[in-house]
């Protein structure tokens, strides 16, 4: 600690200057309201961000999953249709009546 910190002349200088030129009263209500609003915004921002990100991620997973499933279902249907067509062709090309 400096020897200057508690020198009586320094205390007197501070008293004289402060007495002659006091600091205006702090607008406590405004400063406290603004600080607490910023605090609320800061503490609320994380859950909101998490919620938004979570919803986006879920939508992405469902969308991609649904698209992939639809694509695989469609190709499966095409394969089944092709099989059925081939079977029908086979039946038609065979002389079933004469065989029966």
């Amino acid at each position: 600690m400096s020897i200057l910190d508690h020198h009586p002349l320094n205390k007197a200088l501070a008293y004289v200057l402060n007495h002659a030129s006091p600091v205006p009263e702090m607008p406590s209500a405004r400063i406290e309201a603004a600080a607490m609003a910023a605090f609320s915004a800061q503490t609320a921002s994380r859950p909101d961000w998490v919620k938004t990100f979570g919803a986006l991620a879920a939508s992405l997973v469902l969308g991609v999953g649904g698209f992939v499933y639809y694509q695989s279902w469609q190709s499966e249907q095409k394969a089944l249709t092709a099989d059925a067509d081939a079977f029908a062709e086979q039946l038609l090309s065979t002389d079933l009546d004469s065989a029966l």
């Binding site: 600690m1 400096s2 200057l4 910190d5 320094n10 007197a12 200088l13 501070a14 008293y15 004289v16 200057l17 402060n18 007495h19 002659a20 030129s21 600091v23 205006p24 702090m26 607008p27 406590s28 405004r30 400063i31 406290e32 603004a34 600080a35 607490m36 910023a38 605090f39 609320s40 800061q42 503490t43």
Partner: protein, 197 residues
């Protein structure tokens, strides 16, 4: 080399506020904001700007709360540093920042009429004397004499050594003594009346 742990009387409030405790945050604001207001007002001499700086310093505190490491520094010292730097930034942006090497040598204003100055005139003289100081000298005077911070803390706030703080203070006091020499009797009388009241 690691620094020794620093005791911080506000550590409990900081920890609670960091976990989202509103009551602790409100108590922190009440504890620290008056000093931030006084420092910023003394450095900027403008109530609206001082209010902005005080709010900005508190917002910066909220931002560092989740990662604040108790024991590394006192939160008040950190806030004083932020406030002083915000004030210096504003003074620089407004072209009002005066460095020590740019400041003119203080001149002895010479004898004044022996009439007692009116209180408001006296206040104007003190304001003018403080305002005429280079900004880092004014910050050193404000932090040491008005806010009664130790030279070591002032050094941390201004990012300089204790020797450099003492040098700033010596030059600031010399300039103030010269600038306020004609008002010495009125100032002392005002001081005596203040003590008596």
């Amino acid at each position: 080399m690691s620094n020794p742990l620093v005791f911080d009387p506000l550590a409990g409030l900081i920890a609670k506020a960091g976990r989202g405790d509103r009551a602790a945050a409100a108590a922190l604001v009440k504890a620290v904001s008056p000093k931030l207001w006084r420092i910023s007002w003394r450095l900027l001499r403008d109530a609206a700007e001082a209010e902005d700086v005080t709010q900005e310093a508190l917002i910066r505190l909220w931002k560092v709360l989740p990662t604040w490491q108790t024991g590394r520094a006192r939160v008040e010292t950190w806030l004083h540093q932020v406030t002083t730097n915000l004030c210096f930034d504003r003074l620089r942006k407004a072209g009002r920042f005066v460095d020590e090497d740019q400041a003119p040598e203080p001149l002895d204003p010479g004898p004044m009429p022996d009439a007692r100055l009116h209180q408001s005139a006296l206040r104007d003289c003190v304001d003018a004397a403080l305002a005429s100081l280079p900004d880092r000298q004014r910050a050193a005077i404000v932090l040491t004499h008005y806010e009664e911070l130790a030279a070591k803390d002032v050094g941390e706030v201004l990012g300089i050594s204790v020797d450099a703080v003492e040098s700033l203070l010596a030059r600031g006091r010399r300039a103030l003594r010269l600038a306020l020499a004609p008002e010495k009797a009125d100032l002392l009388q005002a001081s005596v009346e203040g003590h008596a009241a």
